[in-house]
Symmetry: D2
Subunit: 357 residues, 4 copies
């Protein structure tokens, strides 16, 4: 089902951008897992709107777990997490049904749902839903952390400006947490340049794309499965659930298509009683299975489609061309706030595969 | 499940590289659909080994449908397709369990399956399984074709050598069929240069990666779904089921991450009684739904991991470093034969989503 | 997943008896379906506690739809329905972890969830969850009704006292609604005798079992599927989701095991341009598919396991035998309030199969 | 999907009664499990036709495992099992499309599949498919047996003649195997009387129904899940996959509906360091979870619908009433051969739930 992810740990997202609430149900979590509400809130606040480099919509994104916990721990029953939509201004959006926004799902949704879709703010297609994804993923991250697995991401690029990359073999816990406070880069220089670029595109009434790089360390060897349920398939399915993602690559990814086999293959060495990889071009995944090296992938985000510049579209009722000028509050670069969302999506995929292993 | 794909049209792959048979079961196909056995065989022969630029393993890859057809048409019962493994030489592969091949699933599979995996030729992880994927996908393509949907792919690049790309707005039936005979490029120049490069890397005992570009035309607007079951999620899940794929991108993909919103958004125009897209940076997909433009994506293939050059690995039993020299028959560039496999994977994802719509 | 039902129309139940809320998410409903909140509330009130012949726990069971509706109709996004637990008295139940109640899930849940289960009132295993099932099923019933499909049930027996049965061929809309107000029997005599029996068992500190009979009319021919996804498989999976159900039978059911083929087979007659069944021993289902006759089944409910009489159990901490005396509010016959729940479960199974057809 | 069962251990059945082959794919079996081919064949021969009290169709039902095994053990890859249809006489069945057989799926299948169904011998709806179910279930039984779990069934009744029942608390391995050779009853008296009755109904050109009782011993406490994936839901879904099953009940089942709570509740006693049940009215299942007592259920089989007596049906092409006289080879009582099939279905449900636990 479209808003459901996972086989054993299964999440079901619900809500629309301007409805009463959004949230998720998480079924199949192991019992006895503590959920640290404060840590969850801190994780979610990394995604929450309000910062200078994000939308000015202000919502606390408070996640309220109304089932599935007992005495602070998972009790085997499904968790339901509710997040209120407190700062919605529906009047802003009524023209959306009439003049579909370029780059948004407005027009295909109008056709698919025969005109019954909730068009306000993109409805169920809105990036607002990533708050619910973060709630679920934040809980998954806490569980994985107790198993020695850490997942972290950073903003690898905005437009042409690049952050330094994770070291594919040596990425550490410290490294994974580096981008989790403040602006999500590893390097301060990248932060400055990216902020300047974002300021500029906002001033131009425009937006810009970016790439998020994510790594997971501590996975035991052999997590995943062949063919359709490998780590790549499942992480990709989860990550394409984040609006604006248009590409994903693991390890050397598209660069591998330009390489020779002798360069791209990762040799083994016998060290400390086990085989150890000497490079990590595979991004920690061979045949869909974790190979012991860090799992590394990158997700490409397109520029925010909502821009202030006038755009050409159509009037569906007048059946003619139209010019659209979008006002309101929008992130000039969705990739910035997407960093914890990518972590959340990866965590859900990894936890489900581990529970199925 | 790992070797199962789809919700309503569900395929279940089976077999190992050097087992008796491989094949698939396809459940949920609509009844009354003709299966043209000759056309299916022709499609599968595009993937079959034996050409000068592929492995020298020779198998006819004859697909035998043993259930699900009645009087030449689907009868509502699941189809089972069998493909014999006729040219297996198990003696070639017995060292695989002992000295895991760099770039292959050998080592993580050893751990995951506790030493019980069929290590001969990669077992169930082998690219041999793509013959079964092609059988299922070839049937899906025939069904889609009767609905006016055509899916085709070509070899966009090998190493640094690039074919011309599909025109994202104007890709036609003719264009989609152009790479379906002979070497799978659109341009003859690219063909020549790629062949030369492949000859060279083979002579060096090496291999090279490549990119396959695929397009689907004729989809009605609104196929797919939000969040986790959109066209991107499902095509990605299917395409990462092809061994050696390390990345996928839709429309402008990773390039979108460098673009501005006003460049990447696709404007609409009112034409012939409906909205028409004036560009196709989205790759035909908005919010997981088809938007009426051609669906376009690219998959990155890493270089074939089996190379003749000596490689560093370990001996699992001797618990020490080892040098591996792989002999035998291997494609110097897996992306060449992967072209129809990508079409097959895309067709299965699209057909399933259409049947669920 | 354990609390998830359905393939295309998929519901995910959550909540525990004494948690903050229970509810459900319904994904995959067709867009554009009106949800009549008053009719839904009226349906749910048939299940709600508070009547003389049910538990004295008093809860309004108000279903609040917080997502998935727009302008009163389904919008394609998942519906989330919340129901508060307003009259919980947790102090009543703290001994449950310690001395497992006979006939309840307390002991196996303690083992399965390693002591972390929410033991208050049975937690997620509680019949309280059927309120959420009714919310989802009540919406499904409204959708089915607009397609000419009506589903109704009645209390066929309590202990040895029997109501009149549905006429398997002639059951009508009027007939299906007859038991939907007041005490859920077709016959007034049965109502009187059942009430007397229930009064008696309550006075004895005991409980009694019962059978609910359910029929669905108006299904087109051919709904369902062969082997594992037929009407019988799916209705059974849904109905066994209601606590205390210990058996289900379709058509003549267990009585068919005593019959001869020439008695049990339902002959056809050509009437009004189509084949019509002359009897309905099959309960409207052949090979898992609807055959045009009313779908009829019966579900057996065991007596409420919570009884006032002293019962023999164990003390898990003291590791010795113990005597349990349950006080509190309990239905003397769960089958009474289960009547609409059976309708709800059947509606969800039927709607999902119709959407998959 | 209709012919697919299970979440982690998932089987996919294929084939039609008079097609080339039937079989199944089993995905998700743990690696390293030996498959004893002889024992599997012996199990399947219990279902095979050919005995005096079954159909006279003669087929060896040889199960050929063509994938998923390596050196005699499961290797983590899906198993494909093929069974040839060697004794089909298609000429016998061509009238089936034209004059639907009462009690068979012929007419609803004609509608569902729009006339494209394989009508020969019931196609995919045929009881012939239970050979494939037995192949999969026979493998599951071998795996369960190594975990100390034994599943066995017997013919509890044919028409009004009853075998002795399993003792619900004391059923033993010996007891479970008692009906696995020769005619499948526990008592010799029942065997004689049942055979006489079957001889009689065959002579009358008629058939008769029966009940199969099945028990599983050795399950640890806590296998299963709440709400929709409990042992009852899953066993029911599997068992209704056997043609002719019209009812299922667990423990006291429908009899519980006539009982009082103090009779039906199973008390606990502290014995040998754990709680032990003093009766087993629950059939070993509380809240969908195994409670430590034997799991016991009964499945009701209707009389074979194919009978020699003339029956009233319709001619679909002539659009008028018709008389049908079925010749050919049919079991007078399908319940006889169904005994191992019920064991197989139960084993698949139990193994899947154990692997998901």
């Amino acid at each position: 089902m479209s808003s459901t992810l996972g086989e054993k740990v299964r999440i079901s997202l619900f809500g629309q951008s301007h409805g009463e609430m959004i949230g998720c149900v998480i079924d199949g979590l192991p019992a006895g897992e503590a959920v640290d509400a404060e840590a969850l809130q801190a994780f979610m606040s990394r995604r929450a709107p309000g910062g200078a480099y994000t939308t000015r919509r202000r919502e606390s994104d408070e996640a309220r777990v109304v089932s599935g916990l007992f005495q602070g721990k998972t009790c085997g029953a499904p968790l339901c997490v509710l997040i209120g939509n407190t700062d919605t201004r529906s009047a802003d959006y009524e023209w959306m049904k009439e003049t579909p926004r370029p780059g948004h799902a407005d027009y295909p949704a109008e056709i698919k749902y025969k005109g019954f879709q909730d068009y306000r703010g993109g409805g169920h297609f809105s990036a607002r839903l990533t708050a619910a994804l973060c709630a679920a993923g934040g809980i998954a991250l806490q569980i994985l952390s107790r198993r020695g697995i850490d997942i972290g991401a950073h903003l690898l690029s905005v437009g042409d400006i690049a952050d330094e990359a994770f070291d594919p073999l040596l990425v550490s816990h410290e490294c994974l947490r580096k981008a989790s406070t403040g602006f999500p880069t590893l390097s301060e220089n990248a932060e400055k340049s990216m902020k300047a670029l974002i300021d500029q595109v906002r001033a131009e009434g425009d937006s810009v794309g970016g790439v998020v790089e994510c790594a997971a360390i501590g996975l035991p060897v052999g997590v995943g499965g062949p063919v359709f349920d490998g780590l790549e398939n499942r992480i990709a399915q989860a990550v394409f659930g984040i609006p604006a993602v248009k590409g994903i690559e693991f390890g050397t990814g598209f660069a591998a298509a330009r390489m020779r086999g002798h360069q791209n293959n990762d040799p083994y060495e016998w060290r400390d009683g086990q085989p150890v990889l000497l490079s990590n071009n595979a991004g920690g995944i061979l045949g869909g299975l974790s190979d012991g090296a860090p799992v590394i992938f990158r997700a490409a985000f397109k520029p925010t489609p909502s821009i202030a510049q006038a755009q050409q579209t159509v009037s569906l009722s007048a059946k003619r061309d139209a010019i659209l000028e979008i006002t309101g509050r929008h992130d000039p670069c969705v990739a910035v706030r997407a960093v914890p969302v990518v972590e959340a999506a990866a965590a859900l995929a990894v936890l489900d595969l581990m529970e199925m292993n």
